[in-house]
């Protein structure tokens, strides 16, 4: 019997007991399907989060104030108001810094005609667009003179614009922010994202406009720094720390009263967390694969018992033990492989549905499929060998007499 003969024999056998074959395969179908779907969901989520983080800006460093210690009590991070516009200017002078955008943000009620929304109003400089990878959709971005003069002009994020019912023709019209009229000079291209990660729900105004109308003083909430190239990140980060420490009158050994936050670090952290979650989910799903394998073993053992006489006949007409071994092993393999292939289709279907709902599209890697096929083959071999050995070891005389 060639392997091809045995595959034919196995398929004929499965055709003659379709319901049993289908139920036996179900375990593997569910196991492989859930592994494929969960791994793809994990990868899709990672990709979605990564692309959102990348759209925040490339080679981005963010400087935030540290915690203030008053009368020996250490406050929460950000409680200190130590960063100033002069600090931003000093950082901008550091080698390797491409652009610097100081930011002061405030939550304000924004009204346009009959519609209103409450959103974050960020006072910043024209370099904000370069630092955060923003592109303009309509109108123009903040420019040098508007920033310096603190004019009441506003650039709207895409979500804010649509919340306020403002389209392309809104450029040049007026809205009120916290009761003060501002002129819309531009609307940003949508960047995507949802919930707390939505970067499109914002209004950008000149820094001077925020400090003169909403948040008084010359401190800034944060300074966003765009570094010229990725391999300068660590160097620039160290240089910023040194510069700001000396400006704040701190020695090299003192704790900094600010934090320099690295975008790449966040990406690495997020990737390792989602990677871990993916492995965890796939691990849980593979338990059902093992259960499916046990189902195959169970049915194969029943099958060997039921077909004892057939095994006896085959041995009498010249089958060697290994012919019988391979006959039953290949039957188990065909079951698990068919189950695996159906499971892949089911898993990809689930992936497509989940991807469409979650909005990160259809993501799957061919490696997952190869691994899924190999896994189901392994299940077939591991759980098929023992029943097959039982069959192969049968004594032909006893098997022929078996009723």
């Amino acid at each position: 019997m060639t392997p091809l003969d045995l595959v034919r024999l196995a398929l004929a056998r499965l055709r003659s007991s379709r319901l049993r074959a289908a139920l036996t395969m179900l375990g593997v179908i569910i196991g492989v399907g859930s592994v494929v779907a969960l791994v793809a969901v994990g990868q899709g989520a990672t990709r979605g989060i990564t692309s959102q983080l990348e759209s925040l800006g490339t080679n981005l460093l963010t400087i935030n104030p540290g915690s203030a210690t008053t009368f020996g009590t250490r406050g929460a991070a950000g409680s200190a108001t130590t960063l100033t516009l002069d600090d931003a200017a000093a950082v901008a002078a550091i080698d390797g810094v491409a652009a610097v955008a100081p930011e002061v943000s405030t939550q304000q009620l924004v009204v346009a005609g009959a519609l209103n929304t409450t959103t974050s109003v960020v006072g910043t400089s024209p370099s904000y667009a370069a630092v955060h990878n923003d592109t303009i959709w309509q109108g123009r971005f903040l420019t040098g003179p508007t920033g310096d003069l603190g004019l009441r002009v506003a650039v709207l994020g895409a979500t804010t614009a649509s919340d306020l019912g403002l389209g392309a023709d809104a450029v040049g019209t007026d809205i009120t922010i916290g009761g003060i009229p501002f002129r819309v000079i531009g609307i940003l291209q949508a960047k995507g994202g949802a919930g707390p990660l939505n970067q499109d729900d914002t209004i950008l105004v000149p820094l001077g406009a925020v400090t003169s109308h909403f948040v008084h003083g010359d401190t800034v909430r944060s300074i966003a720094v765009s570094v010229a190239s990725a391999d300068q990140m660590d160097l620039v980060k160290a240089e910023i720390t040194t510069t700001l420490k000396s400006r704040h009158g701190l020695g090299a050994a003192d704790t900094a009263d600010f934090n320099v936050f690295d975008q790449a670090q966040l990406l690495t952290t997020v990737n390792s967390i989602t990677g871990l979650l993916t492995v965890l989910l796939a691990g849980i799903a593979s338990i059902s694969l093992v259960v499916g394998g046990i189902g195959i073993m169970n049915i194969m053992l029943v099958s060997v018992r039921e077909r004892t006489r057939e095994i006896g006949i085959r041995k009498a007409i010249g089958a060697r033990s290994r012919d019988i071994l391979f006959q039953f092993l290949i039957e188990a393999l065909v079951l698990s492989l068919l189950g695996g292939l159906i499971g892949i289709v089911v898993g990809l279907g689930a992936t497509a549905v989940i991807g469409a709902i979650a909005g990160w599209g259809f993501a799957f890697s061919p490696i997952t499929l190869v691994v899924a096929v190999l896994f189901s083959l392994a299940v077939g071999v591991i759980f098929g060998v023992w029943p097959a050995r039982q069959a192969a070891r049968l004594d032909p005389i006893a098997a022929l007499r078996y009723e």
Partner: protein, 224 residues
């Protein structure tokens, strides 16, 4: 004169069942020449089934020598026995022993598959064998769709398709009505007439009468 096809010398087969040893065959000697039609006759419990298992290479003697077609069978391992069964022996059983849910053609072709014969040649030879037994119009029928006599003819076709040196028939008429039984005996006699060696195992003196020579087994030995 050529070598005999079967030579059994002082063959014993002892089964160990608990503490008591059962001596199913007890130093039996038997020679079957090529082209013979021999009937082995004996009541149940005489040891004729054990003899048939050993002659059919399904079992090995505990002691003694068995040479089949020039091969010393008692020295072979399980795979060796399987190879001898595949090459040299065609079985016909009382209960037909066809593969269930398998067409007549595939039943006959299966015997060739274990010899490694290719698919096309298997189909051709199995078809020819079934046609020789008058079953050319039953190739696609499964065992449940065939009468007892037809099933036994499929079994004979399967036994013959490998051109074995020995046709070993164990109560081949036992499950058949008189007419079908007579038909099967007629086929065996025809095969003998065309030069094939046939060993028939039976408890029925009437059936045994159809053979050229009879040996009687009692208590694990041949009796006159």
């Amino acid at each position: 004169m050529t070598d005999p096809l079967i030579t059994l010398e002082r063959v014993s087969r002892v089964y160990q069942t608990g503490r008591i040893d059962v001596r199913a065959l007890d130093g039996l000697d038997l020679v079957v020449e090529r082209g013979e039609f021999l009937a082995v006759v004996g009541p149940s419990g005489s040891g004729k089934s054990t003899l048939m298992n050993i002659v059919g290479c399904l079992d090995r003697p505990t002691t003694g020598r068995y040479v089949l077609d020039g091969t010393a069978v008692e020295e072979l391992d399980d795979d060796g026995l399987a190879a001898v069964r595949s090459r040299s022996i065609g079985f016909v059983f009382q209960s037909y022993n066809l593969l269930p849910r398998t067409s007549a053609l595939d039943n006959v072709a299966a015997a060739l598959a274990y010899q490694g014969v290719g698919r096309r040649e298997r189909t051709a030879r199995a078809t020819a064998s079934l046609e020789r037994l008058g079953l050319g119009d039953r190739l696609d029928h499964e065992p449940t769709e065939l009468s007892g006599g037809q099933q036994q003819r499929v079994a004979i076709a399967r036994a013959l398709v490998t051109e074995p040196a020995l046709l070993l028939a164990d109560e081949p008429t036992g499950n058949l009505d008189t007419a079908s039984g007579a038909e099967v005996m007629g086929i065996l006699r025809e095969l003998h007439a065309s030069g094939r060696t046939v060993v028939l195992i039976t408890h029925d003196a009437d059936v045994a009468a159809g053979a050229d020579r009879q040996v009687h087994v009692r208590d694990g030995r041949l009796v006159a």
